[in-house]
């Protein structure tokens, strides 16, 4: 965890998580398979986020889930999980572990801060706790997870420098 900035009611730090994107139909067989691998059922409602000590599990869309490990796993284990899941023809699991970067954004002014970079409606009544959204932040595709007291924002690794510079710039002026 690297602290990026902390000012005027906004704290941002960079986190190192691992992630898997899972595509499937969300039906019984799919749920059972995932459950047998990680002992957790995928969330069933669109944009819903479930969280435990180990991971965030979110449904991005009707046929897509993202599984983010909050505690670093042995990478081999992750790859093994992916290849196990991929044995099934009807599922596609793709490793996103090191292809994404993760930012934790907290503080009481986090909405106002993020709204300098995105039009997305962050008000609790439109973006409730434990829900997620895919949207544009600073002109790039991001996923944002509302974990009640903080957001996790992820984007492609190649944008890391650009995105950090935008965050810093927004805080500076």
């Amino acid at each position: 965890m690297t602290q990026l900035l902390s000012s005027k009611g906004v704290n941002i730090s960079q986190r190192n998580f691992q992630q898997i994107i899972i595509r499937g139909d969300g039906k019984e067989q799919f749920n059972q398979l995932i459950n047998s691998e990680i002992s957790s059922l995928p969330p069933s409602n669109n944009l819903e986020v479930t969280i435990n000590d180990k991971f965030i599990f979110a449904k991005n869309s009707f046929d897509q889930w993202s599984l983010i490990y909050l505690v670093e796993q042995n990478y081999k284990e992750i790859l093994k999980f992916i290849s196990n899941v991929n044995l099934k023809d009807e599922i596609l699991a793709s490793d996103y572990s090191y292809g994404q970067v993760y930012f934790e954004i907290s503080g009481k002014n986090r909405n106002e801060f993020l709204n300098k970079l995105t039009h997305f409606d962050l008000r609790l009544k439109k973006f409730p706790a434990f829900s997620m959204a895919q949207t544009l932040i600073a002109k790039i595709d991001c996923s944002i997870y509302n974990l009640k007291d903080k957001y996790i924002v992820t984007c492609n690794r190649s944008f890391e420098d650009y995105f950090k510079e935008r965050l810093q710039d927004t805080a500076n002026i």
Partner: protein, 995 residues
């Protein structure tokens, strides 16, 4: 006869500030605008007009100002600033615009004498020819004399954008806006209150029309209200924030000036562009007064009556103690009283209304105060040079008398400020009683309150707010007003007064900003421009930066009289955003310079920097273009060195930017067969293939290498720039055309870094890096791939080549990418392994005759044009674009086809983009067009052949092999003789690839 202080105003106790106007020093008070400070100093002449360079003075007290537009010298030379809006601060330096050498002596004012030339449609009629004159003579001259300020000096704005999502936006913090806001305190709604001025209150501060609200003095009431609003949980106030656009689905844009009244701090943002999405919009943005056209109604000293009143109450300055007041409506009564209450005596009161409309009360007051007044009368015109001296009044529509005064306060009535309402697509209607357009049917969730809704009666406003907010869960608080004067509005329609023509200098203006006269309007109608939108463009009426805020309704009135139609039939012109000018820097926000476009970097980026890479933008990616071996190495030398070394031993390219897409599912094979031209059915597992993707029009869209794990699992690569589009196309077809196919596609571009190593020594190098893998030709043939463990991850290596040499593509997860890259160099050192960039990549592939999508192709090239027939799975029933390959157009034999060309004189160089023709010299002059055969798509100096090699797209190129043709050049009119050859210049037998 001069300006005086309003001693009752708090401004007079404010801090004194010194500022400069046209180099001269003046004193003003803190909170003054440039305009109010200049009036305080009796400066009447502030500008020269746009076209005729006539002397002009301040006409209004706000955003609607047509004349007082100035340049701020100390703020990066900001031009076109409204003197009536911009506040002064210590040391501000202001210049007038559009004059030379000075405001008092302006050479351009000769235009005024030549004015018969400058009639309506002047530009369209005058600058017709001769050919070439426009660019050399007309435009430079017009640019110097017509126009506004000088462009700002180089300056990087720090303006920012701020998005808001709210339930209610209130536009305007005047009487109705503040009452509406108070009713919404601590309700369930998120509310934004936007006020263009630096203070709340609007009409409450601009006049003394309203004395008390709920028995509290209005100034106290405003303070109390502001305190309550600020303390609330749900209401935010933005002052100095002007709403410029009201777009569809309740999206508003407001520009906040964060440096109002202070100098710009270069490190902080000076402007915020608020982008607001709301559910309901309450428009409480008031009204704007309009003028009346009369002879010389532009002389410095003519001012709108309500603006004069605003200067008295808002800024504590009486611009002139004995002005003449000219009105056709009831709103000027309070101005008259304000002056008399302060002990001043207007020189005359001229009212176009009859005595019934004026009312006994006001007439008695005029008599009692001993003010010369004229009813049923009008101002015929005024005279003076650079300021008013005498004012001619036509008494009882008959006899003309002259009155001496230096200022004339005019009111032609008031217009609801319907700009935002009509921008939001609301319907307006004509009101005969108010003699103006007012909002009728809103198109969005829009509520209008107060004078913008056409309700000019303050007492009725209270009921109006109660009623219009009743659908909201607003608080039920009652407000009672105590007025200075009952304000039953009435008006006598009057657009222009009859005047005698005295000289060419005498003009009656309809648009002060663009110097359009009422005569221009009449002439334009005579010439057939009788529709209001045409008339506007032909005369440039209301097309200035003030958009005719004080005059556009007047022009409708005048035109309706000429056409003998009702104004409602004439209609209005279209109101378009922005409401008032806003600077481009505000629109751009932070999305400039390094943030203009997001930048993508590969995991090897910093290694490239350390190794003196020069970067090239490929899409959003930063890719090494070439690497400098030493600081002064030129691009040409670097590329020649990299290319030669790669063919000699080995070179490596960071190809991480290539798009990668994982395709998986029961029907993956069928899907891939449909998406690409190639046939994948017979392809063996763990092999790869160069593949083409077409559009339905048969034109090549993208290419890449497809790896087949098995019939249900593929990984496809795309070009660096094409990746998002290819993925989107795959998703589109899966969702819209072939939902029955069970296939998922995921982008894995970022999950793999890719290194392309090639050259005769590449096998030896990779064998040393991955000691467990057998890279022999038998075990690892061309176009196959393997996946194996590497540390805690997996590596996929594919034998493929984009250079024509033995080569491998290495795919590794980014966590190990840099380490592996360095390791390859560790072992590559013994073989003089070079890193190379995109330019060398292009050169090497051109030597081999490989095409680049977007260089050889341009969206009009089919695979047949590139001799890619072998890549088309003709036996497949269908694939995207298949049918189009047999269209009459795509099967033509004279289409442009890919060929190679080399100069006959090996020392010559062919330029990319040049034309290929049959003639050695172009005829001079060219009487008939020279037949064009095609263009040069790629050209390089090959270090391995030691001459120029080029590729070209030539009409019927396949049949031109061996022909002598010519290529045009930028070095002269002599064309370069070339020979058409096969585009494969190196290793046509593919020995290097497959051994």
């Amino acid at each position: 006869m001069s300006a005086a202080d309003n001693k009752k105003s708090h401004y007079i106790n404010a801090k004194e500030i010194s500022f400069k106007f046209d180099g001269k020093k003046y004193l003003g008070y803190k909170g003054d605008t440039i305009a109010s400070a200049l009036l305080r100093n009796n400066v009447r002449l502030v500008a020269r007009s746009f076209k005729y360079h006539r002397p002009r003075g301040l006409y209004t007290c706000g955003i609607e100002e047509p004349n007082g537009i100035v340049q701020i010298l100390n703020e990066h030379n900001e031009p076109n600033t409204r003197a009536t809006v911009k506040q002064i601060y210590e040391g501000i330096r202001v210049n007038s615009q559009n004059r030379w050498p000075s405001l008092n002596l302006d050479v351009g004012s000769i235009n005024n004498l030549l004015s018969p030339m400058f009639s309506a449609g002047f530009y369209y009629k005058t600058f017709m020819g001769p050919k070439g004159f426009w660019k050399k003579i007309y435009e430079p001259v017009i640019r110097r004399t017509a126009g506004l300020g000088k462009p700002p000096k180089e300056f990087r704005s720090k303006s920012v954008h701020q998005n808001h999502n709210v339930d209610i936006v209130i536009v305007g913090g005047g009487l109705s806006g503040l009452i509406a806001a108070r009713k919404l305190i601590d309700t369930e709604y998120d509310v934004l209150l936007l006020e263009q001025d630096s203070f709340l209150g609007g009409i409450l501060k601009n006049s003394n029309k309203i004395k008390k609200i709920n028995n509290i003095d209005v100034n106290k009431w405003i303070k109390e209200t502001e305190k309550l609003l600020k303390a609330s949980k749900n209401i935010k106030i933005f002052k100095n924030s002007l709403v410029t656009s009201y777009n569809f689905t309740n999206h508003l844009i407001a520009l906040e000036d964060k440096c109002a009244g202070k100098e710009i701090n270069k490190d902080k943002s000076e402007l915020t562009l608020h982008k607001i999405r709301t559910t309901h919009t309450i428009l409480a943005n008031g009204h704007i007064e309009r003028f009346i056209s009369f002879r010389n109604n532009d002389l410095p000293g003519v001012m709108l009556a309500s603006s004069f009143e605003k200067y008295i109450h808002r800024y504590g300055v009486v611009p002139e103690t004995s002005p003449v007041i000219f009105t056709n409506n009831s709103t000027t009564a309070t101005l008259l009283k304000s002056l008399i209450d302060l002990g001043h005596k207007p020189a005359a009161y001229v009212d176009a209304r009859d005595k019934d409309k004026i009312g006994k009360k006001l007439l008695d007051y005029l008599k009692k105060s001993n003010i010369p007044f004229y009813i049923n009368s009008e101002v015929e015109g005024c005279d003076g040079s650079k300021k008013i001296k005498t004012i001619s009044i036509r008494k009882n529509k008959n006899k003309i008398i002259k009155v001496k005064s230096s200022m004339l306060c005019v009111s032609g009535g008031i217009n609801p400020d319907i700009h935002l309402f009509t921008q939001s697509k609301g319907l307006v209607k004509w009101d005969d009683k108010l003699v103006t357009f007012k909002p009728d049917v809103p198109f969005q969730n829009t509520i209008t309150l107060g004078s913008v809704s056409g309700n000019y009666n303050y007492e009725k406003t209270i009921d109006e707010i109660d009623q219009k907010l009743s659908f909201l869960k607003a608080k039920n608080i009652r407000f009672n007003l105590e007025l200075n004067d009952s304000n039953n509005f009435n008006i006598q329609e009057l657009w222009e007064t009859k005047h005698e023509k005295k000289s060419n200098w005498s003009k009656s203006f309809i648009d002060l900003h663009n110097d359009v006269t009422t005569k221009d309007l009449k002439q334009a109608v005579k010439e057939g421009f009788d529709r209001i939108e045409h008339l506007k463009r032909f005369t440039t009426n209301s097309m200035g930066t003030d958009q005719g805020k004080i005059s556009s309704i007047n022009s409708l009135g005048i035109v309706s009289k000429i056409l003998k139609k009702k104004i409602s039939e004439v209609g209005t012109t279209t109101y378009r955003p922005p409401y008032a000018p806003l600077s481009f820097s505000a629109i751009a926000g932070r999305n400039t310079y390094e943030f203009y476009d997001p930048q993508r970097k590969t995991p090897i980026h910093y290694w490239h920097i350390e190794n003196k890479a020069v970067f090239e933008d490929v899409g959003q990616w930063k890719r090494p273009w070439y690497f400098k071996k030493f600081e002064t190495e030129s691009m040409h030398l670097a590329v020649q060195r990299e290319s030669a070394q790669t063919r000699k031993t080995a070179g490596i390219l960071d190809g991480s930017t290539l798009g990668k897409i994982e395709v998986k599912g029961k029907d993956a094979l069928e899907f891939m067969n449909l998406m690409y031209t190639n046939a994948f059915t017979k392809m063996k597992p763990m092999t790869s293939r160069y593949a083409l993707m077409l559009g339905e029009d048969g034109m090549i869209k993208d290419d890449g290498i497809v790896c087949k794990f098995n019939d249900k699992h593929f990984i496809a690569t795309t070009t660096s720039g094409g990746a998002p589009k290819v993925l989107a196309d795959m998703e589109e077809y899966l969702q819209t055309e072939w939902p029955h196919l069970q296939v998922f596609v995921n982008s894995i571009t970022e999950q793999f870094s890719t290194f392309n190593i090639s050259g005769p020594k590449s096998r030896e190098i990779v064998s040393k890096v991955f000691t467990d893998v057998d890279f022999s030709n038998e075990n690892f043939p061309f176009m196959t791939f393997k996946v194996f463990d590497y540390k805690d991850t997996e590596v996929r290596i594919m034998r493929a080549s984009f250079t024509g040499e033995l080569g491998y593509e290495i795919y590794i997860t980014p966590n190990h990418a840099l380490e592996l890259w360095k390791k390859i160099f560790h072992y590559g050192k013994a073989y003089d392994l070079v890193p190379y960039g995109t330019e060398t990549m292009h050169l090497l592939r051109a030597e081999k005759g490989y095409v680049v999508i977007g260089q050889e192709t341009d969206g009009t090239v089919t695979p047949i044009d590139l001799n890619f027939n072998w890549m088309i799975g003709k036996k497949k029933k269908d694939f995207i674009g298949k049918r189009s390959l047999t269209r009459s157009d795509t099967s033509r034999e004279d289409r442009k086809q890919l060929v190679g060309i080399i100069p006959l004189d090996k020392s010559e160089f062919i330029e990319e983009g040049q034309h290929v023709v049959e003639c050695e010299r172009l005829p001079k002059p060219i009487k008939t067009p020279v037949e064009y055969l095609g263009h040069v798509s790629s050209s390089y100096h090959s270090p391995n052949l030691n001459h120029c090699i080029a590729m070209a797209m030539l009409k019927g190129g396949n049949k031109l092999m061996g022909r002598k043709l010519f290529v045009s050049s930028t070095y002269g009119n002599k064309n370069i003789p070339v020979e058409v050859v096969s585009p494969v210049f190196i290793d046509p037998e593919n020995k290097r690839l497959v051994s």
